[in-house]
């Protein structure tokens, strides 16, 4: 039960508002403040001088809902201190920060980002692909260095049309990527945990076979035990010397050391990466390569996505506290 000197509780009326625990502010809160959650009483753990376990033991025993960013691992230890927890709302597109089996065991519902970010992430994937194939960032560097003269030709790029694009993970993001690239004349093939009966793209049951038939691999899946280092040396060799890898999922889906080796040894033609295994660290070999495009994990970081996420979070919390179905419940874990 909230107490008068509880962080986040400043007036008598807020005792009636439903409580939402926030361990660390998600990006939307850092950018927009928390006025969009005025209908809730926020328990802001990070504002307390107490260590987390003490704070939770004292203040969060009856908390039913938790709002969390993607960077904060929700471990078994934290869950043990939240006996009343029924809902986690995450602002991250990925779920790898959540101990899913433990949540399932406890029967705690998870409201994901849904498809709020999907367009922006798909745009980033396509942007990175065009950049790698047509050498946009490399050419921009070339011009700004004053190297352009009509006698020496800037190296030619590679055409998008007819490229076989293998999408790894055909969820909301993967489908938005596919829809965009089809308009460029790319041929879409995919692998996913399950075949999608509603799409006509050819399905591959494993990523190695997908890579063997692809010119480009775009990683659009989440990070799980099964997908960790799924894109390994064999997959990259199968993709081939003209192959390009685009990663807008999680860094650890790709064996990063192997990726660097393949690029250094020209077993791969190029890569476009928004995510890395050990952010913000980027392997130094990549920092001087012209055939890679590097992005600092920002596929969702547009004002449009973040504003939409505020509404989405609010909508999920409202639904939960009025016993209505969540907007974006995570179903099959």
């Amino acid at each position: 039960m909230a107490t008068p000197n509880h962080p986040g509780n400043h007036d008598h009326q807020s005792k009636e508002l439903p409580q939402v625990l926030v361990l660390e502010p998600p990006p939307i809160m850092k950018l927009h403040g928390d006025r969009f959650l005025n209908d809730f009483q926020l328990l802001k753990a990070w504002e307390s001088p107490l260590p987390l376990d003490q704070f939770l033991s004292i203040h969060a025993q009856s908390v039913k809902a938790l709002l969390t960013p993607g960077r904060y691992p929700l471990t078994r230890n934290i869950l043990q201190l939240l006996p009343s927890l029924q809902l986690v709302v995450t602002t991250s597109a990925g779920l790898n920060h959540i101990d899913l089996p433990e949540f399932q065991r406890r029967g705690i519902a998870i409201a994901s980002a849904g498809d709020v970010y999907s367009e922006d992430v798909a745009d980033m994937a396509v942007g990175l692909l065009i950049d790698v194939l047509r050498k946009i960032s490399a050419a921009d560097r070339y011009v700004r260095k004053g190297l352009w003269d009509t006698k020496a030709e800037f190296p030619l790029g590679s055409k998008l049309c007819s490229k076989r694009v293998g999408i790894v993970g055909l969820g909301s993001i993967g489908q938005e990527v596919a829809k965009r690239l089809q308009a460029f004349g790319c041929r879409i093939i995919y692998t996913s945990r399950n075949k999608k009966p509603s799409v006509s793209y050819p399905y591959y049951s494993n990523v190695l076979e997908l890579a063997a038939d692809s010119d480009v691999l775009i990683i659009c899946c989440g990070l799980t035990e099964q997908t960790r280092h799924m894109i390994n040396k064999y997959v990259m060799l199968a993709l081939g010397k003209e192959g390009v890898v685009i990663n807008i999922g999680r860094g650890a889906i790709i064996d990063e050391k192997e990726l660097v080796q393949c690029l250094v040894q020209r077993e791969l033609a190029g890569a476009g990466l928004d995510v890395f295994e050990n952010e913000p660290h980027v392997p130094r070999e990549l920092l001087t390569m012209d055939n890679v495009v590097l992005s600092p994990h920002r596929a969702v970081r547009t004002p449009e996505s973040l504003t939409a996420m505020c509404e989405h979070v609010k909508g999920n919390l409202e639904a939960f506290f009025s016993n209505k179905p969540l907007l974006s419940p995570v179903m099959n874990i």
């Binding site: 352009w148 308009a183 920002r298 547009t302």
Partner: protein, 313 residues
């Protein structure tokens, strides 16, 4: 065929050069220490000129080549060729339409994404080590933004088709309204610019379309608007473009072409809201080969008295 003289104006493609060398008596103008002398010396054997977006057969050159029969351009744009003079003298002209449409349209979308999502700038951010100190700032969403196209020809339509896949509403300006399209038409470029967020130049360069994007248009596009030029440099009033960008009256630009290539206004080098490319619209291995084969095919057809593949004149 070896005695047929072909004048190539500037280096443009190694494969094309090698093939021309094999089939004809190839004169490479850029290797000449004194160009007018070189032309005079070989004028009597030159029956074909091969140019590209950067160099074409102007009136002076045409006059200097009395035996000229055909100008074959390694480009789709022919603004560097004096078409009227060619018509007057019965000289055939060919270009390379269709084969480069997709590449140019792909690049237009690539430029839009690169400018709006700051791809080049954030790549620099990572390479310089700045990510270790903090996140890169927010960049604006591309999907759903209204795209305005100047010129709804092959390239314009291809840009529209791609932008539609990003849920972008499409509008356009053209010399005349097109009856067979669902896109919204505006009768002037200023009105088009006032009603879109991303303006793409995709029309041919003619006397009428010189500086079609001027100060008024750029002001109408505005501080959140982005200009994408995949046409020709002279479509845009370049000094006005520079001041509009520097002063913040225009939100950003993605440029593949400039008024005086390869010169690029240096004031643009320090701006993070521009992306600068060295005229690579059709610059893929695949397309340049197809373009080269089209040039070779047109020349072959001409000298065998067969119908030209892609004649303009």
């Amino acid at each position: 065929m070896e005695s047929i003289g072909v004048l190539m104006l500037i280096p443009m493609n190694t494969y094309l050069e090698q093939e021309l060398q094999k089939r004809y008596n190839l004169f490479k103008l850029w290797t000449a220490p004194q160009k007018p002398q070189f032309i005079k010396e070989h004028a009597n054997s030159i029956r074909a000129v091969v140019g590209n977006a950067g160099a074409g057969a102007d009136a002076e050159l045409i006059e200097a080549l009395p035996r000229l029969e055909i100008v074959s351009s390694f480009s789709v744009g022919v603004d560097k060729i004096d078409l009227a003079k060619c018509r007057e003298k019965g000289i055939r002209v060919t270009n390379t339409p269709d084969v480069l449409t997709e590449d140019v349209a792909d690049l237009a979308i690539g430029l839009m994404l690169a400018v709006l999502r700051r791809l080049c700038e954030s790549d620099r951010y990572v390479r310089s080590g700045k990510w270790k100190k903090g996140d890169y700032k927010l960049t604006t969403k591309f999907s759903g933004k209204t795209v305005g196209i100047i010129g709804l020809g092959r390239i314009g339509m291809a840009v529209a088709k791609r932008a539609e896949a990003f849920n972008c509403p499409i509008c356009y300006y053209s010399r005349t309204e097109k009856s067979d399209t669902k896109y919204k038409y505006y009768p002037s470029v200023v009105e088009l610019a006032s009603n879109c967020q991303i303006l793409v130049v995709a029309c041919p360069l003619t006397e009428e379309t010189q500086h079609i994007v001027n100060r008024e248009v750029m002001n109408a596009l505005g501080p959140k608007g982005v200009l994408i030029n995949i046409g020709r440099g002279p479509h845009v009033d370049e000094p006005e473009l520079v001041s509009a960008l520097v002063e913040g009256r225009l939100g950003g630009a993605g440029l593949d072409v400039y008024e005086h290539e390869p010169e690029v206004p240096e004031e643009l080098f320090g701006l993070e809201n521009v992306v600068l490319l060295p005229h690579v619209g059709s610059g893929t291995v695949e397309t340049r080969k197809v373009m080269a084969d089209l040039v070779l095919g047109n020349l072959e057809a001409h000298f065998l008295n067969k119908p030209l593949l892609t004649p303009l004149v």
